[in-house]
Symmetry: C2
Subunit: 240 residues, 2 copies
DNA sequence: ATTCAGTTGTGAACGGGATCACAGCGTTAC
DNA sequence: GTAACGCTGTGATCCCGTTCACAACTGAAT
């Protein structure tokens, strides 16, 4: 479950299972690799051309062993003493994560959150771009927001198919989420970022990243209490 | 790391370890319990007063065994045939997740994303409320946005201490995140929701939920490719 | 009263991600 | 040249969340 944290591959009814034919990175690995790359790219220009697992680990909040293990599984080798070549590593990660020809994404639901995300992602790197937005409200369609055109929902299928879009961001109200998601799947979307506070029920061969902010907040609250509160938890429970 | 969904307890340098005095739920358990409750509360008024593990599982995209196991660990019993009492269960979950006296949260960084979140959380349930916002920009402070007063950053310590606030949402630019987070810790915040795309380095007894949207998006893109690609990962990519 | 269908509760097995530990080696210093 | 340091690569291990499987049980039906 994922937003934080939590990643959620959803299959038809009960059991969750992802299966791919070839070598597939695990969900946490993809997350970490994505983070490694971002941190490497954010390195100051005058920093050395190689980096140690320790250093990268510190930048990413992991352990050095973890970093080495990850780089091992993508077959990237470093040199003792010098460490890993930063340029090369960025390239190697890209070769794992990015589609060679780039990938495009759409956003559905141009409300408060949708607009913030549009702004955020249209100023981002080009290998994964938000290229279209959709809304059901005629007030919102037709305009161009943050360089991204807003289409009527009815055009979804055509635009997605025409451009071979595979990734979708869902920021519609909870009540509409399942229905809209179904339409997106039908159009060809296979990877979802779902911000609606409702778990999507989608067919297999589909991946949903649940960005459940409410749940994440409750987690933060729970562990904040657990960590600072120290004691004070009752073990009393109730039943019918 | 979590983002992505993923939960991230960060300790000083390398090793991550959470330790609490008493019985502590695991991170995924807290997420699921939070979700169970939300789904139960969203049940139609005319639905039966009890619910089976199957049904709840379907609503939450998990398995029945999982639900039973979770309810077992919080010591909540159901009856064969009838299932679990919905009212009682909602109460039992609350007794686990919520602070008896309620919990308050602050948000720092009233930008695009911050405003969206303010709007979202001030219309939410009362056991966990956003009670104050902070920004460094004098243009933004002094006003009341969505029922939430925006203070100058300088007031952070006082407000947090005065109201015993333990949870904080971070929506400042990446460059400012670490510094602001440090100030929040100093003021007494122990649970974080970090939307800045930078892993926070915080002392032990602190919990960070990394809401790394970029990473989540790359995960969705990666698995979308992996799943629809059907076989090849390298070149196999079709057009519309 | 008795049977029966279907659900809960839970020990046990499983799987896989995180972590450990160390051998091997490249680099630098002298 | 060579010694020594410290980092990488990786088998092995650990740990914990997930899943299985089934006995116990409840309520309904007859
Ligand atoms: N705002 C936040 O900070 C926040 C935080 C967490 C979760 N969410 C969730 O994200 C979603 C959007 O939140 P928001 O605050 O932007 O709401 P919003 O009401 O501002 O935006 C919703 C948008 O979706 C559009 N819409 C409605 N039905 C649609 C349909 N069937 N097809 C296409 N578009 C449709 C509306 O016209 C509107 O533009 C909600 O599910 C909300 O629960 C929001
Ligand atoms: N907008 C999005 O959809 C989105 C998505 C993912 C992540 N993020 C991240 O969330 C953060 C905020 O994004 P945004 O789009 O709202 O940016 P924004 O520029 O609109 O808002 C940033 C706000 O933080 C305030 N600020 C700056 N420095 C500060 C400081 N030291 N103390 C307190 N406040 C300070 C600014 O005055 C501004 O109001 C960024 O880190 C961004 O990377 C945003």
């Amino acid at each position: 479950m994922s937003p934080s944290g939590m990643g959620v591959p959803l299959v038809e009814t009960a059991p969750r299972r992802r299966q791919a034919s070839v070598r597939l990175l695990s969900e946490p690995q993809v997350s970490r690799l994505s983070l490694y790359r971002r941190q490497l790219q954010a390195l100051p220009l005058d920093s050395p051309p190689t980096i140690h697992s320790h250093t990268l680990a510190a930048l990413c909040g992991t352990s050095a062993a973890h970093v080495r293990r990850d780089l091992m599984t993508i077959g990237f080798a470093g040199s003792p003493v010098r460490g890993y070549d930063v340029e090369q590593l960025i390239g190697a990660i890209g070769r794992q994560l990015d589609a060679p020809e780039g990938q495009r994404a759409v956003l559905v639901g141009v409300g408060q959150l949708g607009r913030a995300l549009l702004n955020y992602f249209t100023t981002r790197r080009p290998h994964l771009r938000l290229v279209a937005a959709f809304d059901i409200d005629p007030e919102k369609t037709g305009r161009v927001i943050h360089g991204c055109r807003v289409w009527p929902l009815a055009e979804l299928g055509e635009v997605v198919r025409e451009q071979g879009i595979t990734v979708g961001v869902l920021t519609v109200p909870a009540e509409a989420a399942q229905e809209v998601a179904d339409r997106m799947v039908e159009a060809g979307i296979a990877g979802f970022l779902n911000f609606a506070p409702v778990p999507l029920r989608l067919p297999a061969r589909t991946f949903v990243e649940e960005m459940d902010i409410t749940t994440s907040m409750e987690r933060a609250a729970y562990f904040a209490r657990a960590l600072v509160g120290g004691g004070r938890r009752k073990d009393e429970q109730r039943a019918g």
